[in-house]
Point group: C2
Chain length 735, copies 2
């Protein structure tokens, strides 16, 4: 009796709790919830960084409130007034929502209401945006993506003032803005909504959040499982398909950054509204892996590795990384190495996670340095679609970092750059990826869109540090074919920091051509820094022209070969596939070891290559056929070889010191004496690098998958090279 | 009796003091003296910055001592081994000298002795250096300048161990190194020794210091008053001739930096040895003015304004500035605003002055911010050879800085750049001066010498932001003629920070052509930042072609005029006088207000000019006819006009914000609606700039010297413009 009464009592009590919690949590309950608000109220004035961010936000919104509200009829493309105004509007509504939640001051709620009134009056009258182009038009903005982001912020603002509004006001906004906008997304632009791509993720997140606030279960289900609620699309599918088991995001680092925001913030909304889904544990904590992989895809200066379509200005200071990092810190066990990045960011989210990070930063002894590491990322939902490797050496203050890209295509922003590499040193790009041809939000540059030259140059193979066969791009520049294939990992090892290796094979990019590139970061006590040995072999039954460009950054210093400079008349290198954009500045040749040296700031770099007299050595510069001067006029050095099988063997060597302060220069010449390809056949390629000091590096690379673990023996002019495994380094001292 | 005994006693006592002082001061007594040594000994371990510098020096020399001494037979040009080795040797001897003085450890003295033994054995056997070129050959180095610097440091080292050496050793070094080297300088290269030029200053200082140590009065007299001791040359003459009464050094900022070292360090040696000369008070404390003017010739990032032959890498962190600043701090009343620069230098001199600065830096509250100011520097010994003006606006963190050059030629490193200007903003160069074509100490680049292209491009008028008449340089590029003339100051005012003006006239650079350039930095509350209005009028009785290039830094964004781009074929702009180095990328034209916009980092800039349809608007890029790729491929925008009289009227406008972090761009278009030259005659030029917001700026510039102070009245189409003085600004609001 007593017991059963107790049972009843407990049951009723629990019910009451659940009910009151459910009511209490109702609004706001997307990214910021009532608990966050309470925490923030209690801590205001006590946590310096959070106070700074909060005060700045308050100042921003207080200033905005004093200005008249403008909700202009959409007209301009990105960078133009109406575009920027609508962007400002959603940011201001969002800030006003946070401010209202924390301070309870009605002026903030009133500001959002007044603005929503104008949107509610205008939105139903809008046709497609006049500057809209292509398949994903918006109404407020030229592309639906921006409109999605508008909803993403605005629904959070609406959620914050939901309880303050009258039912009539809510009905007005829901009927005239939120439901029609969601309908526009889910029905009219269904393809975008169900698109496995960052655009789709944004749309799913915005519609899903709207579903939660409007208590519209169908919208939530559609957001999570696709417009047909059949799990072929939607947020959950995006989480499965776009991120590899390692956390590598298939579009590359630049869009990983962008996608982190809807992925993480919607995850918070899911957690608040459907905690049973345990979204942060989903797929072995894939969100955590996603954030860490994205951070590893920065160089130590914070810049994202600019593979695929990427703006080089983007770094980990971006708001998306701030938010995802704060949430990761909160949800995944308070990793204090994230604090060193939070410190560089100098800002936090305006929610409970941001507050937690700011609290942790109060005590400097909490801060641990973030560790950039060598990485072997797989691509694809199952980690079987190639990958991206990063080899690193040295402290963050002066780190060598080599990136090797053998990923799948990477969706619509992918580049035709199979087996390309990038190199960083001394805090800067040394071998660059061009990134994208785009000036974000600059109206004069085609309304801030991707420029024509993005497709015709930046995406093409010749714009990358990899081989171009017969002046055509990978897969002949066809994305639909490129998306079907990917290179395969051959070997990776970072166990020995003085001999790190990455190696991959591509057999699809060019019909009948097998390409195998192996990059080794090799250090020796006699080196000032590690060198990169680059063995890039191509095999084919037919004659081809093979071009291997290196987009070096810096000022040309010298070559050891003679060349003919086109000093009084420049013409383009070719006619299509990106070749038309390259001015031919000089062409030379030699037989033996060709050395090309440049200076970047205070360090010299050389590319030292094994060539013969039939190879052509080009000096190129971007900028031909560019009447709008949309491209940067950066230089390149290119080796051209002709034949069936060929091995490009090069050393990339950082060396010396140019010290203008002390007026001293040392080691301005490469210390590589020679590089030779001793043998290359279907079993293996053997290369020898001899340094001036007599150190001999013999690098042996197995050429077939079956040989990855087996034993090898090659007799080269009577000398037998024996080794086991995929890649082997033998050091000998000749002196 | 008692009194006279006292007198006798006092006299003897004083004599003893004087005598002992004289002996006590004997060695070391050049830059560092016994008092410094005593002070340093007393303070070691107590002054963190000094300790850091001292410990680093000790570590450097302790490491050097462990290596075998190498005094190689001279062979290599700058950047090569023997060059660098001899440089290292003198630096090591110098450090060893300081270390011996302070610690008394004999290993340091022994190191210097062992090295001097080798030099004494080799030096008398040396012919001229095998890589020597031109008029100033050395023996240890390819040019006598480096040899002078060798002596400059080595004699200080010798001074430090003088007392420790045996008389025989001293005789050996003096007979086989110091006297023959001084003789080589004073007799064999007398022209250099008596040359009013930084080379001469270095030689005078080195020989003078040697004179003091060797107690050779004649050498000292020759160093002070020239080889003939007749005051036509020597250090005192250098002090008179090279520095204007304002402290402007006639070779410009880059060589001012370099000259500061011998000027200041020899001054210390003079003060130590001939205090009666009161060298630091000489010419109204000209050395103090020299240091401050040199600091004002940096931008807020610390870089020297790169007029004339200049390497852009040089900034106020250079050792020469460290030394001169420390000495100035000590000798001229402890100006604590110098400490903010000393703090950025992070190092001090290893002497009493350095110790004093390091002591002051112990207390952070001593540090005052250095104030960069607008400046009106005169050039020439009497301040009557033209000048160099600097207009500044805003805080050091984001300062606009306009430099206007109307100096005299500036000796052998001068450029043909009369009435050129440079512009800085946001911490960076916006309109650049190319500086010099040289890679200091990089052997591959012509042994680190000034390159061929320095003379044929960098020095030529077309390489600067000023008018070129008929594709010829000022004075037809003839230095001997250019040295005879200079432009004249017309007007300068920095009284009103919102309307600062500099104006100068040149009538000699081109026969029969009067050039008058007026640059005004104008701010208004409706501007985000000040704009520059540039009124450049030329008058001639004959028809000419006038070219006005602007070497802008950044990425081209847009024009408001049509142009024809040479997209598939580039050819040079001209055949000589520097024109051969410019690729012609595009040419356009329009009638009215031409706008040319570029982006530098996160800010936009426009040049907005009054043009008519006969003018040609060029887009250019450096790099043609440069088979060794010695030049940077920087761009330029150029306006070409033809006629007798012409006015180039332009606005240089910083505007807008490109924010990739927040993905927002504002004001990417110029806000200048139009610029018009309303009238220009022998009395005055009247220009009108109308902004989009209706603000009208009417700028009136008197055109003859007599009108500088008088009243003016010009009737332009019935509207009368009246003003008083050289330059007048009228603001009207049209809305």
């Amino acid at each position: 009796m007593k017991i059963s009464f107790m049972k009843y009592f407990v049951a009723v009590f629990l019910l009451l709790i659940i009910k009151s919690t459910a009511i209490a949590q109702q609004h706001p309950n997307l990214v910021i919830n009532r608990e966050d608000v309470k925490e923030i109220k209690e801590n205001l004035g006590k946590v310096p960084l959070f106070d700074k961010v909060f005060d700045k936000a308050k100042q921003t919104i207080d200033e905005a409130i004093r200005e008249p509200i403008d909700v202009p009829v959409p007209k301009d493309p990105a960078g133009g007034y109406t575009h920027t105004r609508h962007q400002e509007n959603y940011k201001e509504m969002y800030l006003a929502g946070i401010m209202y939640s924390v301070t309870g001051e009605k002026k903030y709620a009133g500001f959002i209401r007044d603005m929503l009134d104008k949107y509610a009056a205008m939105y139903p009258t809008l046709p497609l945006h006049p500057a809209a182009k292509g398949e994903a038009p918006g109404k407020l903005f030229w592309q639906s993506l921006n409109e999605t982001v508008w909803l993403f912020y605005t629904i959070q603002a609406y959620d914050c003032i939901y309880d303050w509004l009258t039912p009539e006001e809510r009905k007005n906004y829901e009927d005239n803005i939120f439901r029609p906008m969601c309908k526009f997304f889910v029905v009219n632009t269904r393809q975008q909504f169900d698109f496995i791509h960052n655009h789709g993720t944004w749309m799913d997140a915005s519609v899903g959040m709207t579903g939660y606030v409007l208590k519209d279960k169908k919208l939530v289900q559609q957001a999570l499982y696709g417009s047909k609620i059949d799990s072929t699309a939607g947020y959950m599918k995006q989480l499965q398909m776009l991120i590899s088991p390692d956390g590598y995001y298939t579009e590359g680092a630049y869009y990983a950054r962008y996608a982190l925001m809807p992925f993480f913030l919607f995850a918070k909304a899911i957690q608040n509204n459907q905690p049973d889904m345990k979204i942060f544990d989903y797929r072995n904590q894939i969100l955590k892996k996603f954030l860490y992989a994205s951070l590893q895809m920065t160089y130590t200066n914070g810049n994202f590795i600019p593979i695929n379509d990427a703006l080089k200005e983007k770094n980990f200071l971006s708001v998306e990384i701030v938010d995802a990092l704060d949430i990761t810190y909160k949800e995944y066990g308070h990793d204090n190495s994230l604090l060193s990045i939070a410190k560089r960011q100098g800002t936090v989210m305006l929610d409970g996670a941001g507050l937690l990070v700011a609290k942790a930063l109060k005590d400097p002894s909490n801060v641990k340095e973030f560790q950039w590491k060598s990485e072997d990322f797989s691509d694809g939902p199952n980690g079987k679609s190639g990958g991206l490797d990063i080899l690193r050496y040295g402290p963050s203050s002066d780190e060598e970092c080599l990136v090797f890209k053998y990923t799948s295509h990477g969706l619509s922003h992918g580049h035709f750059d199979k087996l390309s590499c990038l190199f960083y040193d001394a805090g800067k790009e040394i071998l660059q990826d061009y990134g994208s041809a785009r000036f974000l939000n600059i109206e004069q540059k085609d309304g801030g869109r991707y420029l024509f030259e993005n497709k015709t140059f930046a995406k093409q193979t010749i714009a990358h540090n990899t081989i171009v066969v017969d002046e055509k791009s990978d897969y002949d520049g066809k994305m639909d074919i490129s998306e079907k294939y990917h290179p395969d990992k051959f070997y990776f090892s970072d166990k020995n920091p003085d001999f790190q290796v990455t190696s991959a094979v591509d057999t699809h990019s060019y019909k009948g051509v097998r390409m195998h590139r192996t990059l080794a970061m090799i250090n020796d006590k006699s080196f000032s820094r590690p060198i990169i040995v680059d063995i890039f072999s191509v095999e084919s039954d037919k004659e081809h022209q093979y071009d291997l460009p290196f987009y070096y950054m810096g000022q040309f210093i010298s070559t050891n070969f003679k060349y003919n400079a086109f000093s009084t008349n420049l013409s383009p290198l070719g006619k299509k596939n990106g070749y038309q954009y390259l001015w031919k500045e000089a062409v030379g040749s030699m037989n033996g070891t060709a050395k090309f040296t440049w200076l970047n700031d205070e360090r010299f770099y050389s590319i030292v290559s094994s060539v013969d007299s039939t190879d052509e050595l080009y000096m190129l510069r971007i900028g031909a056929n560019d009447p709008n001067f949309n491209l940067r006029n950066d230089p390149a050095y290119m080796i051209r070889a002709k034949g069936k099988d060929h091995v490009f063997a090069s050393v990339l060597e950082p060396h010396g010191d140019f010290n203008p302060k002390d007026e001293q220069t040392v080691n301005s010449y490469s210390r590589v004496k020679s590089i030779k390809v001793l043998a290359s056949n279907s079993e293996a390629t053997v290369t020898e690098v001899e340094m001036n000091n007599g150190l001999l590096l013999s690098l042996m690379v197995a050429n077939n998958s079956s040989g990855k673990t087996g034993e090898h023996s090659i007799d080269i002019n009577g000398k037998v090279y024996k080794w086991k495994g995929a890649v082997y380094l033998l050091k000998t001292n000749l002196k």
